[in-house]
Symmetry: C2
Subunit: 197 residues, 2 copies
């Protein structure tokens, strides 16, 4: 257990052996979204992978087959939805690093999208999984944007020490595995600075 | 010009010859979303087409090619986003019918999704284009749900006369072509019953 763990946001269940189940971080987020949806707590779906379709075959008596297509770069984050009337928008990222979270997996327009959503009072954040450390964080988007735009931060990464300070560590549970709504409740109910840029 | 046109929601520009431009209703909505985004008024994106990817080739020195994939049924509506802190969610549908809007293009889970979003205080609606009549309507989702669930309405369609009464007709403009935010303003500012089920 981390000494940085914020008890307030922690579920009581024992941390599952995340890496031993053959599931990815994304699978765990999807499971959490399904749980929240089934309990009518929030409506969050992962957006489909953007694909440029070039050729489709329409065989008789069977389903259309896409025979040529290419991956396109996502123009937004992967997840968005609705919680207690609030628009929520987030990205999920995984790293093997032990001391910092590298930003190279973000694209310019994803950062732009997060800024746009903050400007329109969305609840915007990143869920980060440090796979080697087996630690999960909820990081408000404003910190990602700040580091992305910093000219001094040539490495384009956020030190774990900073994330421990400005983010919220989430202990993995059973259902939901990643209880990220608890942090949003903290923002909404306690008027934290999630809306600030 | 329609006698049912509600002047309050109408742009001053001349109605463009919608059908003569080789653009679809979807193109016009996408143009409207881009306009709103560029003016920092709202953030709405069309979700990518859901595709089940079966086989991908990774040729050397060029982009990955998807060589086998299938269309999946969408589990949500096509559009969602954020406007003035409000979550908005909608579907766009076109019909050649002249007297009613058929509901056969909706799936059960799309209707379920709209209900879920209404329960969480989302602003949920359908944009309908009567292509033969060249008329566009903003219809709050509660009416679609009501007709979908009605046991008396065996045809599963909503009469145009009802849509004229409970929906809002939008005159097409230049930019945005489909000025749907004006109707949302009406709801938000005037406390109309968009949140009611």
């Amino acid at each position: 257990m981390s000494k940085h763990l914020k008890k307030e946001f922690v579920t009581k269940t024992k941390q599952p052996s995340f890496s031993n189940r053959g599931m990815s971080f994304e699978d765990y987020i999807n499971q959490s979204n399904e749980y929240y949806l089934s309990k009518e707590m929030a409506i969050v779906h992962k957006k489909p992978t953007p694909v440029q379709i070039v050729h489709v075959n329409y065989p008789k008596r069977s389903a259309a087959v896409i025979t040529e297509a290419y991956f396109r770069e996502a123009s937004t984050t992967d997840y968005n939805g609705l919680y207690k009337g609030h628009y929520i928008d987030f990205e999920a990222k995984e790293t093997k690093n032990k001391t910092s979270f590298p930003l190279h997996n973000f694209h310019d327009h994803q950062i732009k999208h997060m800024k746009q959503c903050l400007n329109q009072q969305g609840v915007v954040f990143v869920l980060i999984w440090f796979s080697t450390l087996q630690r999960c964080f909820f990081l408000p988007a404003k910190h990602v944007i700040e580091y992305w735009e910093s000219k001094e931060n040539k490495r384009k990464s956020i030190p774990l020490k900073v994330i421990e300070k400005v983010g919220y560590e989430l202990e993995l549970g059973i259902a939901p595995i990643i209880p990220y709504l608890t942090v949003i409740d903290h923002y909404i109910l306690k008027g934290d600075s999630v809306y600030e840029k």
